[in-house]
Amino acid sequence: MNTMNINPQPPVEKLRSLAGVISHSLDVDPGSSRPLKMETRDLGLFYGAFQAVGNIDMRIRANQVTAIIGPSGCGKSTVLRCLNRMNDLVPNARVSGQVLLDGSNLYAPGVDVVNVRRQIGMVFQRPNPFPKSIYENVAYGPRLYGINRRAILDEIVENSLRHAALWDEVKDKLNHHAYALSGGQQQRLCIARALAVEPEVILMDEPASALDPIATYRIEELIRQLREDVTIVIVTHNMQQAARVSDETAFFMVNDRRMGYLVEFGPTTQIFTNPKNKQTEDYISGRFG
């Protein structure tokens, strides 16, 4: 409950200032008719008998950034991990409903989960590069697909590092150990690593929460530039970040049975300036959470 307001702004003023941020940041008309890339239909997740999230209907459009916000514990990361079937790794987790990529259900029987994860990549909260060189971290994915010729790998590594805005900083030390990089650089390395397998979607689970403000800013710039190549879904607990970075936003809450659900979903400008749901407005204006 946020009762600490040094300079209390009336809610309307706060929304307007956020809108100012948004209109300077975005250069894409949100909510335009971009094709649908991913969709969840009545998605739910159970741990045994306990339902952690339920009734999630989201539409994720191609070449856009979709943000998922909400108070902690409302299932944001859980839903994100359903999108690339990472929850398969949890022993007693059970998924209900559907997750569609380009119209096909990822949870249909017989779907090759390895392929799913190639098409839908993931960047984690804490950077987790492999204990290998920078080059080998990025080349890990392509090598899995049998690409071993040095020339091609060099090209893929350079392209991925360029598009992760890391190339200029590491091009002379590709053989250095990944752990020698700073936190922000390691996270960009993880993004480059994910880009190297040419996914169509990248999921990001609070990618900047372990980083300092400058590194955070660079990651946010990167996310907006990556839009042209991939579709991005980002979970963040930082509302301002969602406002700066995303085209559409999903707001989650948790009900009194501790189940996470989707409260409102729409273009970011609309969510932050004119939310349809009172709960959304309360959260955005800082009345709680």
Partner: protein, 333 residues
């Protein structure tokens, strides 16, 4: 209202000791701890002293490889190379077999096994280590050698024994009883699997799950994740586990003595009977008459002690290394 009786005047020295014996207590603790340390030093020292005669008589040539070994209690001339060779070749061959098996089991137990099966299977693997060495020897002589070692030895002689590079190792015919260095190596392999497996499994469990997740999220299969990410990550720990297993194999006595045939010839082949450092001590020490004979055997014991000491230290260091690894992110900005 006071319920406790007034504290008696603490003048009696016995009472003072009873209530404040801390210095005595801490002193005793320190003494015993030092005694444990002293024990380790004492073992090395005593072995050194008791082998003095042999060391002076034969010098370093006692332990060196030689084409004409001589172990002759009658003539009182001793040279230990056949036993050193026997120990090394049986232990290394045992490691060769045990390491892939142990890695496989550790991978299975830590990555693939359903949770409810993990503990019972781990126990069963540890039971292999609990069975006494003599029982391994007994079972070896009567069951394992005729049923497994003999056919395997014959097979190896016919196949690997024909390859030029390996002919030395697999020449000759394995005796009908199966008693051979091969038998010792195979039984040693069974005995050290639990050691290597237990440490390796702990190494795998200590690897942060984010490494697994990062690899799987890139679309790697489980096996690719294990082989390309987890094994390299835990390599120093696994190496430590292997060295621990090697140390155990070097020191194993009873089972080896019962199945190795106890022959001090200078042959090299795995298929023929041989001797190891520990089994020669076991067989001859109690009946050693001359002082030089005894001292030579003690010197062999000293060599064994130093060898296992060094291996143990290397292993502990390597296992400790894995725990220290990690992406040090907070240090740099």
């Amino acid at each position: 209202m006071k319920y406790l009786p007034p504290m008696p005047n603490q003048t009696s020295p016995l009472r003072r000791l009873w209530n404040h014996g801390d210095r005595l207590w801490n002193g005793s603790l320190m003494f015993l701890a030092a005694a444990v340390l002293a024990l380790m030093i004492a073992i090395g020292a005593l072995l050194w002293v008791q082998s003095a005669g042999a060391r002076e008589a034969f010098g370093w040539s006692f332990l060196q490889p030689t084409a004409s070994p001589r172990w002759n209690p009658v003539a009182d001339r001793y040279q230990a190379w056949p036993f050193i060779y026997g120990t090394l070749v049986t232990s290394l061959f045992a490691i060769l077999i045990a390491v892939p098996v142990s890695l496989g089991i550790a991978v299975f137990l830590s990555e693939l096994c359903p949770a409810w099966l993990r503990l019972p299977l781990s126990w069963m693997v540890e039971l292999l280590a609990a069975i006494p060495s003599v029982i391994y020897g007994l079972w070896g002589i009567f069951a394992f050698l005729p049923a497994v070692v003999l056919p395997v030895g014959q097979f190896l002689g016919q196949t690997l024994g024909q390859i030029p590079g390996l002919r030395l190792l697999f020449s000759g015919a394995i005796p009908q009883s199966g008693a051979s260095r091969l038998a010792a190596a195979l039984i040693l392999a069974i005995m050290i699997v639990p050691t290597i497996t237990a440490v390796t499994r702990d190494v795998f469990l200590a690897i942060p799950s984010q490494q697994r997740e990062a690899s799987l999220a890139l679309g790697a299969t489980r096996w690719e994740t294990i082989w390309k990410v987890l094994l390299p990550y835990g390599l120093s720990g696994i190496l430590g586990a292997v060295i621990l297993g090697l140390g155990r194999a070097l020191g194993e006595t009873m089972a080896v003595t019962m199945v190795i045939g106890n022959s001090a010839q200078g042959t090299l082949s795995l298929l023929l009977p041989g001797y190891t450092m520990s089994s020669i001590i076991a067989n001859e020490f109690a009946e050693a008459v001359s002082a030089l004979h005894q001292q030579s055997l003690v010197e062999i014991g000293l060599a064994l002690f130093v060898l296992t000491l060094l291996l143990n230290m290397a292993a502990r260091f390597l296992v400790w290394q894995v725990a220290r690894k990690g992406p040090q992110q907070e240090a740099r900005v």
